[in-house]
């Protein structure tokens, strides 16, 4: 039974990891400090390739030398690596949350491992990320995945065929499952997508999942030959991979619609389109560079007289977000690249105007008409009013 793979990996994870541990043990035997090197996954090591459309890692490495300060991190790394390599050996898959609880049980029952206990899942998550940066592999390639989040998809013209690892093939006609959404998972899945008939007009990814639900309830998918997806805030690996699959297989125009604020542009839209600095090594398979920013655009606020409100620098969280936006314009290679000048201009506009507008403002344009939201979205797509 072959495992479903996201990409073709030209290294044997098991062997690479064992070699690494062997070297560490050798060094210790010689009373030398083992030194580990991992890809630096941060903004200062991110390179934006306009031709590819996503962020890739630079040459910088994070070096960790064993000393009294790093011994905790390294022993925790080896501890989790041991569990994950065992999973790889026997073919078991675990979620990050499961790994956290498994480690909890092990550390409580074995006095030798007691010191390694994690007090929060964020601690074990960060060690798992470190392992992937160390081995330069995806989390999924060491049989681990995060919990599912976001990605609820609706369409009346999409058929999804999934092939499972044991060869089972199942077909889901999204138009035949009523109001039930299709949701991709946060682990490797093999999909074949095709329209039921003709060509799908567009794919709309909306920041708020509840807005997607409302649109579907109001008949958006019945009236439009489209796919609509809820990203549920910052898109998870699953959502990002799913959008890339749609982009690659369906050749359909893809639009993102969310709040007009710095957080949405920097964290949600940028991650969906070009990946993130934290996931540099997997952006190639988890980003959809063809996605366009449909709104809310600054021009929409004026054109549709949308309710917007002020961002105050006196408010700590607003001040932080303005500072981050300024920082992004200066240091984020995505926003610095001239290819993305228009979206950078929106960010600049937000900093100078100090306003924000919620995506739901469209509902309030004409409260008597339940289809206002839909009409504006379609109007914008028709007028090519996007970035």
């Amino acid at each position: 039974m072959g495992k479903i793979k996201i990409r073709k990996l030209d290294k044997n994870v098991q062997r690479v990891a064992e070699n690494l541990c062997n070297e560490m043990l050798d060094s210790l035997e010689k009373a030398q400090r083992p030194i580990l090197q991992a890809t630096k996954c941060s903004l200062d090591n991110s390179i934006y390739r306009p031709s590819k459309g996503y962020l890739v890692p630079g040459d910088k490495k994070v070096t960790t030398e064993l000393n009294v300060s790093s011994v905790q991190k390294l022993s925790r790394t080896v501890f989790l690596l041991d569990i994950m390599l065992n999973n790889l050996k026997v073919g078991t898959v675990n979620s990050t949350r499961e790994l956290y609880y498994m480690s909890k049980g092990l550390t409580k029952s074995d006095p030798k491992l007691k010191a390694l206990a994690f007090s929060e899942q964020s601690e074990s998550d960060s060690i798992i990320n470190y392992i992937t940066h160390l081995l330069e592999i995806y989390r999924e390639e060491i049989n681990c995945h995060a919990g599912d989040s976001g990605g609820k998809t609706f369409s009346k013209n999409l058929v999804v065929t999934e092939t499972e690892s044991d060869g089972t093939v199942s077909t889901v006609d999204l138009g035949a499952i009523g109001t039930v959404p299709f949701q991709p998972q946060n682990k490797p899945q093999q999909f074949k997508l095709k329209p039921k008939k003709g060509k799908i007009d567009f794919c709309l990814i909306v920041e708020s999942e509840s807005t997607v639900n409302t649109l579907v309830t109001n008949g958006f998918t019945k009236r439009n030959n489209c796919i609509i997806i809820g990203s549920k805030g910052v898109p998870s690996n699953g959502v990002r991979g799913w959008c890339k699959t749609i982009q690659d297989q369906l050749d359909v125009p893809m639009y993102f619609y969310g709040d007009l604020d710095a957080y949405t542009i920097q964290n949600i839209y940028r991650t969906l389109k070009a990946g993130s600095a934290a996931s540099l090594i997997r952006n190639s398979d988890f980003s959809a560079p063809d996605v366009r920013f449909l709104g809310v655009l600054p021009s929409d606020v004026k054109k549709y007289d949308l309710e917007s409100y002020d961002v105050s620098e006196k408010n700590a969280s607003d001040a932080r977000s303005i500072k981050k936006a300024k920082d992004a314009l200066q240091n984020d290679p995505f926003f610095r690249d001239k290819k993305n000048k228009k979206i950078s201009d929106v960010l600049r506009w937000l900093i100078t105007q100090k306003v924000r507008c919620e995506q739901q403002a469209l509902f309030a344009v004409n409260p008597k008409d339940p289809h206002t939201f839909e009409k504006i979205i379609l109007d914008k797509i028709k007028r090519k009013d996007f970035i």
Partner: protein
């Protein structure tokens, strides 16, 4: 045009009592107490008497206004007392003061406060202040009620009588006012009394608040500070207009003579410097009254441009580092502290002295890690308890990066932790923001001077904190070796399927590697210890305290982590003292600190220590029952 009327000063204040600290029933109680205590302390110090004050504050009924109580505030002192003829002026007349504009560092200045308290009593309880006074000359004490004649700004004496009083001299005031009582917190009565004790080491205070136990805090210094007489004005403290008026008083002298005679810090050399800075030489020998008026600006400017020595320290009164160090132990059990008394500086044209005491209290340690430090502000040795945010002192504290000294702090706010920051500003002319003297104006000069003082104190404090951090770091490192080392080898062994021998070799290697790190940490700790000991030596030589020694011995003999470094003097028992002396002499022999100067210094410090021990700190709690018994006797 409507008729223009004239009102008396008393009328103005009676209508604007909020301007002088009577803006709420809560503040009224504190301000009344404050004014009475200030007057008593000033009177005692002026007469050279070590003050012994008894304060009593009780609820005696319901107040006349809604939501108020009738509060009785009694303050009794052992001062020189007042003649009957002086009582109406002192307690019933506004702006009648013996200190106004004298340029001295007394607590009271304008003669407003206590008259305002009488007015408040009169307005809220229809009766002024009851005063009992006895001077040395009197056989019996006089007892009278003083009211304020609001229309005429005069004091009125009522119910005059004479009574027996055991005291040879003293004064007792008794206010009954509408008010409310708050004991703790920034505006609390206890905070005020603690603050007053801190900056008055020579004060013995007994207080009886509400139904709480009576508390007595004995003095830790027998030196009664003499409020220094005002000195000649310093030229840099004047404005042109004042300079002109001042010059006219010395009209028949030559300019050079006038400058030397009428100002402090002006010498022949200074005058030469002034000439270099633009003072026309021909004017120096000219008689002042013959100098044309327009030339005075040039003269004035040349003086301003000339560097002069700081104003005389004699005109500024300080508590002193020793006094503060001793006094701080009266507030609670101190873990460690640092005190700084700066040299006088000109701030806003006036000589000013800033003193800082920073202490960590053991009893506050657990509760206050996440809370802001307790900030005690003082102006001329009077606690300031309201309007904290606008005060120069608060601004200065908030502007410092305390993280550099090892304290937690959010940006531009007070640092966090179980610390008390006591900061005192003393000057003959403090620039208050209002008549109630609650906030010091935050001028750039003063804030900078305050910052410097606090940074100095912070540096001393940081040595303690750094030492603690190093000790904690060492312990953490040792813990890490013990707990994570074996786990790392165990997990690596599992992955590569290593045998026990290989694991053992790796464990040995690991211990060697991490052992090197902990040795480095030990070295760091020793260095921090050494730096701290130097500071403590300096401190004990300067302050005559046992402060550093005990801790020094502890750190030398592998002190436990997070060690107390300062113990209150009262806690050192006789036996311990002997043992300590032996131990310290043994240590001295071992270390062969042969330098004569060092030995002399130590001997001097020891002498001071024994002096400090004599004035033992006592905080007696006299139970009510025992008080009754003594009364019966």
């Amino acid at each position: 045009m409507s008729k223009i009327t004239k009102s008396s000063t008393a009328e103005y204040f009676a209508k604007n009592l909020q301007q002088v600290g009577f803006s709420s029933p809560l503040k009224a109680v504190l301000t009344t107490l404050k004014e009475a205590v200030d007057n008593s302390l000033d009177a005692c110090e002026e007469a050279g008497i070590a003050p012994e004050l008894k304060v009593s504050i009780k609820k005696v009924g319901k107040g006349s206004a809604k939501n108020t109580d009738l509060i009785q505030i009694t303050v009794e002192d052992n001062g020189p007392g007042l003649e009957l003829s002086d009582l109406p002026q002192v307690f019933g007349e506004y702006l009648a003061s013996s200190k106004f504009g004298r340029g001295q560092c007394s607590r009271g200045q304008q003669g407003i406060g206590i008259s305002a308290a009488t007015t408040w009593a009169q307005l809220t309880n229809a009766a002024g202040v009851k005063v009992m006074s006895k001077t040395k000359k009197m056989r019996k004490a006089v007892l009278a009620t003083i009211d304020v004649d609001i229309k005429g700004n005069k004091g009125l004496v009522k119910n005059k009588s004479t009574v027996e009083w055991k005291k040879t001299h003293g004064l007792k005031v008794d206010f009954k006012i509408d008010g409310r009582i708050q004991l703790n917190g920034d505006g609390g009565l206890l905070t005020y009394l603690e603050g007053t004790t801190l900056v008055n080491p020579h004060l013995t205070l007994e207080y009886d608040l509400l139904d709480n136990d009576k508390v007595r805090v004995d003095r830790v210094s027998d030196d009664v500070p003499r409020v220094p007489p005002s000195t000649l004005p310093h030229p840099h403290t004047m404005k042109l207009g004042e300079f002109l008026t001042h010059a006219h008083l010395y009209g028949n002298l030559s300019l050079a003579q006038f400058m030397k005679k009428a100002f402090s810090r002006v010498t022949d050399n200074t005058i030469k410097d002034c000439v270099k800075n633009g003072l026309p030489k021909k004017l120096t020998n000219m008689v002042v009254k013959k100098i044309p008026e327009k030339e005075f600006k040039t003269i004035f400017q040349s003086i301003q441009n000339t560097d002069l020595a700081n104003p005389s320290t004699k005109s500024v009164l300080t508590v002193g580092e020793e006094g503060l160090a001793k006094s701080i132990h009266r507030i609670g059990e101190v873990d460690f502290f640092s005190v700084v008394t700066r040299k006088p500086k000109i701030c806003d044209f006036k000589p000013t002295v800033v003193e800082v005491a920073i202490a960590r209290f053991l009893d506050k340690k657990a509760a206050a890690e996440e809370q802001s430090v307790q900030l005690l502000r003082f102006a001329n040795r009077v606690p300031l308890q309201f309007d904290k945010s606008a005060c120069a002192i608060t601004r200065a504290v908030e502007s410092i990066n305390w993280k550099a000294y090892g304290l937690a702090q959010s940006k531009n706010s007070l640092p966090l932790g179980p610390y008390v920051f006591a900061i005192s500003v003393t000057s003959p002319f403090i620039k208050f923001k209002n008549a109630s003297k609650e906030t010091i104006d935050a001028s750039d000069d003063l804030v900078e001077e305050l910052r410097r003082a606090m940074m100095q104190a912070g540096q001393k404090l940081s040595r303690h904190i750094k030492r603690e951090n190093k000790a904690a770091d060492l312990e953490r490192k040792k813990n890490h070796i013990q707990s994570f080392g074996p786990a790392l080898v165990e997990c690596l062994g599992r992955i590569v399927n290593a045998n026990e021998k290989r694991k053992q070799r790796a464990t040995d290697g690991l211990i060697k590697i991490l052992g090197r790190d902990s040795k480095e940490a030990e070295k760091d700790l020793k260095a921090a210890d050494a730096r701290l000991n130097i500071l403590k030596d300096k401190q004990s030589a300067k302050l005559g305290q046992v402060v550093g020694k005990k801790a020094k011995e502890k750190t030398e003999s592998e002190a436990p982590i997070k060690e107390d470094v300062a113990e209150p003097a009262k806690k050192v028992t006789a036996k311990k003292k002997v043992a300590k002396k032996k131990k310290s002499s043994a240590v001295a022999k071992k270390t062969k600190s042969s330098s004569l100067a060092k030995a002399k210094k130590k001997a001097k410090a020891k002498k001071k220590v024994s002096g400090a021990k004599k004035t033992k700190v006592k905080k007696k709690v006299v139970k009510k029952s025992t008080r009754k018994k003594t009364k019966r006797k």
